[in-house]
C-alpha cells in the first residue's frame, strides 16, 4: 500500500481520481488537497510515497511545489488537461504524467510501473533537477533523460548529434563522444519527443539535430554532414523537407 496524496484545484478532477484510485488496491489515498500550500503541509506531515500533482493551479503551478520541498523522497505523477510545454518537460525528465480526463487503463498502467520501480533517491533527485532545469532554464540548456545501463543519464539536447535506429534499439551520438550510446527504445520515441527541438527524421534510420548539420551533399537523397564529420544518408522523400528545414534555421 502506497501512501498517496492527490493535489488538484478542481473538485471534479479530485473526485474522479479518488474514485478511480479506490479500484486500485496498492494505493492508499491519505490526503486530497486543492492548493500548493496545503500540499506542502500534507507532504511534510504525511510523508507520502506517491503524489498526483496537478500542474495548473491558481496560486502556483505544481512545479513550484517541487522547489519548496527538499528532499523529494516520493514519486510524482503529474496530471494535466492540456499543457504541451509542461508535458514536454516532464517527458524529457522521464517522469510520469496523466492526461485529464484520466483514462482508467492508463492510470492502472502507470500505477503498475510505479509499484515495480526501484525508488532510487538519487535518480528521483536528478529527474526533478532536470525537470526544473527544463521548466525554468534556457531553451539551449534543455536536458533529456536517456535510459542507459546505469539507469538514466541526463543529456543536454544541444549536445546530441543524432540518433540512429537499430531495430527496436537506438544509438545516440553525442558531442565529444566517439562511441554512441545504445538506448533500449525505438527511434520513434525520440522523434516524437524531439521534433520540436530542431531534430528531423531524415531517414528511416536517422534522426538528426539540425544544429549539428554542417553541410548537405547532393545525391539521390543526399547526405547530411554532421559536425563530427559523420555522413548521414538522407532519404529521397525527406530531401525537400530536410533542405527546407535547414534553410529556415
Amino acid at each position: 500500500m502506497f501512501k498517496t496524496i492527490i493535489v488538484d484545484d478542481e473538485k471534479g478532477c479530485r473526485d474522479t481520481l479518488e474514485n478511480l484510485l479506490q479500484e486500485i488496491p496498492e494505493i492508499n489515498v491519505v490526503a486530497i488537497v486543492d492548493s500548493i500550500a496545503l500540499a506542502q503541509e500534507a507532504i511534510t506531515n504525511l510523508q507520502p510515497q506517491l503524489v498526483f500533482l496537478d500542474i495548473e493551479m491558481p496560486g502556483g503551478t505544481g512545479f513550484e511545489l517541487l522547489e519548496k520541498i527538499s528532499p523529494i523522497n516520493f514519486e510524482i505523477i503529474f496530471t494535466t488537461a492540456y499543457d504541451q510545454y509542461a508535458i514536454k518537460a516532464i517527458k524529457y525528465s522521464a517522469l510520469d504524467y496523466l492526461l485529464k480526463p484520466i483514462d482508467p487503463d492508463e492510470l492502472a498502467k502507470t500505477i503498475q510501473r510505479f509499484s515495480v520501480k526501484k525508488h532510487d533517491q538519487d535518480l528521483i533527485n536528478n529527474k526533478f533537477k532536470t525537470l526544473l532545469n527544463n521548466i525554468n532554464g534556457e531553451t539551449t540548456h534543455q536536458k533529456i533523460a536517456i535510459p542507459d545501463d546505469q539507469g538514466l543519464s541526463f543529456i543536454k539536447i544541444t549536445d546530441i548529434l543524432r540518433f540512429q535506429s537499430d531495430g527496436s534499439y537506438t544509438y545516440m551520438y553525442t558531442v565529444g563522444k566517439t562511441k554512441p550510446t545504445l538506448i533500449s527504445k525505438p527511434i520513434g520515441d525520440y522523434q516524437e519527443m524531439l521534433t520540436n527541438e530542431q531534430f528531423i527524421r531524415i531517414h528511416r534510420s536517422h534522426l538528426v539535430n539540425l544544429q549539428h548539420v554542417t553541410r548537405y551533399d547532393k545525391g539521390e537523397g543526399g547526405f547530411a554532414l554532421m559536425s563530427d564529420n559523420s555522413k548521414v544518408e538522407v532519404s529521397r522523400r525527406k530531401k525537400n523537407e530536410f533542405i527546407e528545414a535547414l534553410s529556415s534555421l
Binding site: P101, D103, R237
Partner: protein
C-alpha cells in the same frame, strides 16, 4: 565604257574633269595640237571640247604623243606608231628591218628630230633612228641591256644609260665623251624622263632623283620624297614635276613656287603635264581625271636656290638638296642641304618607294587604314646620299618589332600582321657611320574584323547581358509567381485544414457521442462512461494537436481513426466492426501524412454505407505503398452502395447529408492543394463494389504523396 569626262569640281581658276563611268582612267600624256588639247589614256585618245573631254578613238597600250611635221602621232608601249587623223588612228608602217627590231621590245622613249624617229627601247636597250619618209632603219646603236633615254642634242642626240650594271651610275653619252652621274640606285625598269630645258641644260629624272646637267658636268641633284612621274618646262621657264601621290611641285628661277596648282592637286598622282597656248596648265592624273588650271597665282619662297634655269657658270655643284613634303616646303627644316664634297659625312636620306599590300602596288601615303585581311606588306625603300657606297639601314615596325632590325636590303616584308596600330620607321647609315637625320615613317592601322571590333564585342556583350538579364528576370518572375502560388496553396491548405478540423469536430458527432456517454451514466454504467469519455477526450486532444501539424506519422492518424470509429461504433450500438490493415513494408512512425484526410470517407462509409444497411457491416481501412513515394489508402465498406445511399438520402431528411459532402470535398481540396504543392497529379477513386450485379459496398481509394 567611258566616252566623256565632265566637270566634277570647279573654281574660278580651275576645273576638274572626270569620267563618271571610268574614274580610274589614266592620263598618260597631254598635248595641244591645232588649238585642241588632246589626251592619251589607257583607254584611247581623248580631246577637250567645250568644257568636256570626249573619246576620239579607242586604243589600248598608248603611251605618248609625238609631233611629226605638223601631224600628231601616238606611240604604244609595244612600238606601234599611229597617225591621228579624222578620229582615226592610222598605223605608221615601217620597213621590215625596223619592224623586226621593234618586235618584242618595250619602248622607253621616242623623239622626232630632223625627219628622224629616235626610238629607245627598254628590253635589249638601244636606240634606233628611223627615217620618217623612207621608213628605213638608219642606225642601230645597241648600248647596253639597260634602259636608254634619248633627247635631241644639237644636231645629234643625247642618250643615257647605266654605265655599269654593278654601279649606280648614269652615263650621259655626250659624243664623244660621257658624263657620269652617281645614282641612288641601279637603273631599272622604272619611269624615267629626260628633257632639254630652254637654257640648254638637261634634266634627267628617275624615281626620287632629278639631275640637271650640261654637256660637261652635273649642275644639280635634288631628291624629292615622291616618285617623279613627269618633268615639264612651261613657256615661262618654270619646271614642273608631276609626282606619284604628291601632286605637283614647281620651280621658278631655282626657287620653289607654290601655286593653286600645288594646292588643288594635293597628293594626287599626276602623270602628265602640258600648257596650252592660252597659258592654261593641263594635268592628267591617274584616277582623278584631268585638271585644267588657269593662269596660276604664284608664291615664291625664299628658299636656298635649288635650281637655276639660267646657266649660271659661277654655281658649283656641291650640294644635294632633299625635298620632302613639298607642299609645306616653306618650313626650312624640311629642306636638307648637305655638302657633296664630304660624302661620308652627309646624313643619308631614306625614301619609301613603294608599298605593296597583299602583293599589290599602292600609292605611297603617310598613313594607311587597312582592313584585317590586308595584312601582308612589302615596303621598298631607297636610301640616298652624296656618295656612291652601299648604305646600311635599320628599321622597326612599332607595334610588332621590339627592336631595330639591321639590313642592307631595301625590301622589308611583313606578313600576317595582327590588327592594331603600326608605325614603320627606317633610317639609313652611310659607310662613314652617319645616320639619317630624319627617319622615313609610315603609319598604318589594321582594323580588326568586325567580329572583334569594339562595337561588335560590345554589342554582343550587351546582347548576352541583356539575354541573361531577361532570363534572370523571367526566371525570377516565374519563381516569384510560383512562390506566390505556393504561398497561396499553403494558405489554402491552412484554411482547408481548419475546415478539416471543423468537419472532424462535427457538432453532430460531438454531441451525439456525449449523449451516448450520458446514457451510460444514466444507466449507472460509470465504467463504460469513463472508458468512452477517455476515448472521446483522446480523440479531441489528438485532433487539436494534429491539426497544428502539416504532417503526422501514419501511426498517429491510425490512432485517431481507431478512436473515431470506436466512438461511432458506440453511437451506432456496434452496428459495424472495423479492420485496419497496414502493409508490413510501412514504417508507421517514419512515414508521415497530412492529418485528418481519411476521416470524412470513413464517416461517409459509416453513415451512408453501413447505417442504411440491414444487419451489421464491416469497414476495412488499409494502407499500402503504391510505390516508394505514394501511399494508397483504401476505405472499404460492405454497405448499401452509393446508388441506394443517394436514393435514401433524397427521400429522407438526413442530418449527415450536408456534412458528408463537405468533409469529403475538404479532403479532396486538400489533396489537390498538396498535389499542386508537390507537383504531383493524384486523385481519389470511388469504386462501386458489386457481386453479380448487386451492390456490395463502396471502396474509396485515396492516394497520398509521401515526400
Amino acid at each position: 565604257m567611258c566616252t566623256q569626262l565632265n566637270i566634277v569640281a570647279q573654281q574660278p581658276d580651275f576645273e576638274n574633269l572626270k569620267s563618271k563611268t571610268d574614274p580610274y582612267l589614266q592620263f598618260n600624256d597631254v598635248t595641244e595640237h591645232n588649238n585642241i588639247v588632246w589626251f592619251v589614256t589607257n583607254n584611247g585618245v581623248y580631246k577637250s571640247s567645250n568644257s568636256k573631254i570626249k573619246l576620239v578613238v579607242k586604243q589600248e597600250n598608248l603611251v605618248r604623243f609625238i609631233k611629226v611635221d605638223q601631224q600628231l602621232f601616238v606611240w604604244s608601249i609595244y612600238g606601234e606608231f599611229f597617225e591621228l587623223k579624222k578620229k582615226q588612228l592610222i598605223p605608221k608602217k615601217f620597213n621590215s628591218a625596223v619592224s623586226k627590231h621593234l618586235k618584242n621590245k618595250i619602248i622607253n622613249s621616242v623623239i622626232y628630230h630632223n625627219n628622224t624617229f629616235w626610238i629607245s627601247t627598254v628590253i635589249g636597250g638601244g636606240i634606233i633612228q628611223v627615217d620618217q619618209k623612207t621608213q628605213e632603219l638608219k642606225t642601230i646603236e645597241l648600248q647596253a641591256e639597260y634602259p636608254c633615254y634619248v633627247v635631241p642634242f644639237g644636231n645629234k642626240y643625247l642618250s643615257g644609260n647605266n654605265a655599269n650594271s654593278t654601279k649606280k651610275q648614269l652615263a650621259i653619252n655626250l659624243n664623244p665623251t660621257s658624263l657620269y652621274v652617281p645614282l641612288a640606285e641601279n637603273l631599272n625598269f622604272s619611269k624615267t624622263n629626260l628633257i632639254k630645258l630652254t637654257d640648254g641644260t638637261f634634266i634627267f629624272t628617275r624615281q626620287h632623283e632629278a639631275i640637271r646637267f650640261n654637256n660637261t658636268k652635273v649642275l644639280n641633284r635634288i631628291f624629292i620624297e615622291k616618285n617623279i612621274e613627269r618633268v615639264y618646262q612651261d613657256r615661262e621657264g618654270k619646271i614642273w614635276f608631276a609626282l606619284n601621290g604628291g601632286g605637283v611641285t614647281c620651280f621658278a628661277n631655282g626657287n620653289f613656287v607654290s601655286s593653286n596648282a600645288t594646292k588643288y592637286l594635293g597628293n594626287k598622282t599626276v602623270i602628265s603635264i602640258a600648257q596650252d597656248k592660252k597659258g592654261n596648265m593641263w594635268f592628267g592624273t591617274s584616277g582623278d581625271g584631268v585638271y585644267r588650271l588657269n593662269k596660276t597665282i604664284e608664291l615664291t619662297y625664299n628658299s636656298p636656290k635649288i635650281f637655276s634655269t639660267t646657266n649660271d657658270k659661277t654655281e658649283e655643284i656641291k650640294s644635294v638638296y632633299v625635298l620632302s613634303d613639298l607642299p609645306s616646303i616653306d618650313e626650312n627644316s624640311k629642306v636638307l642641304r648637305t655638302d657633296l664634297s664630304k660624302n661620308d659625312t652627309i646624313p643619308p636620306v631614306v625614301f619609301i618607294n613603294n608599298i605593296k599590300i597583299n602583293g599589290l602596288d599602292t600609292v605611297v601615303l603617310n598613313y594607311y587604314e587597312l582592313n584585317h585581311h590586308e595584312n601582308t606588306l612589302e615596303i621598298n625603300i631607297s636610301g640616298v646620299f652624296g656618295g656612291d657606297s652601299e648604305l646600311q639601314y635599320k628599321y622597326i615596325l612599332e607595334g610588332k618589332d621590339v627592336d631595330w632590325n639591321y639590313t642592307a636590303n631595301t625590301n622589308m616584308y611583313y606578313t600576317a600582321l595582327q590588327p592594331g596600330n603600326y608605325t614603320f620607321k627606317i633610317v639609313a647609315m652611310s659607310d662613314g657611320g652617319v645616320w639619317s637625320r630624319v627617319p622615313a615613317v609610315i603609319t598604318f592601322t589594321i582594323t580588326p574584323p568586325f567580329y572583334s571590333s569594339f562595337w561588335f564585342i560590345f554589342s554582343i556583350l550587351f546582347l548576352i547581358i541583356a539575354v541573361v538579364l531577361i532570363i534572370v528576370f523571367i526566371t525570377f518572375r516565374k519563381a516569384q509567381k510560383r512562390k506566390e502560388l505556393f504561398e497561396e496553396d499553403k494558405r489554402k491548405l491552412l484554411i482547408s485544414e481548419l475546415h478539416a478540423l471543423r468537419s472532424q469536430m462535427n457538432p453532430h458527432f460531438i454531441f451525439n457521442t456525449l449523449s451516448s456517454i450520458q446514457s451510460f451514466i444514466t444507466k449507472n454504467n460509470s465504467k463504460e462512461a469513463v472508458h468512452y469519455l477517455s476515448k472521446f477526450s483522446k480523440l479531441m486532444r489528438a485532433t487539436l494537436e494534429n491539426t497544428q501539424k502539416q504532417k503526422i506519422p501514419i501511426k498517429d492518424e491510425i490512432a485517431s481513426l481507431e478512436l473515431y470509429m470506436d466512438l461511432e461504433k458506440l453511437r451506432l450500438n456496434n452496428k459495424f466492426s472495423y479492420q485496419i490493415i497496414i502493409d508490413e513494408s510501412i514504417d508507421v512512425q517514419f512515414e508521415e501524412i497530412p492529418p485528418l484526410l481519411l476521416q470524412p470517407y470513413i464517416e461517409n462509409a459509416i453513415w451512408h454505407g453501413i447505417s442504411n444497411k440491414e444487419g451489421t457491416g464491416i469497414i476495412k481501412v488499409s494502407f499500402k505503398l503504391e510505390n516508394e513515394t505514394l501511399l494508397k489508402c483504401e476505405v472499404e465498406d460492405d454497405g448499401v452502395g452509393r446508388k441506394k445511399a443517394t436514393e435514401m438520402k433524397s427521400t429522407q431528411f438526413n442530418h449527415q447529408k450536408k456534412n458528408k459532402s463537405l468533409g469529403m470535398s475538404i479532403t479532396k481540396d486538400r489533396l489537390e492543394i498538396i498535389n499542386s504543392l508537390k507537383g504531383s497529379q493524384l486523385n481519389i477513386n470511388i469504386v462501386d463494389l458489386e457481386n453479380k450485379g448487386l451492390p456490395t459496398g463502396t471502396k474509396i481509394e485515396i492516394f497520398i504523396p509521401l515526400d
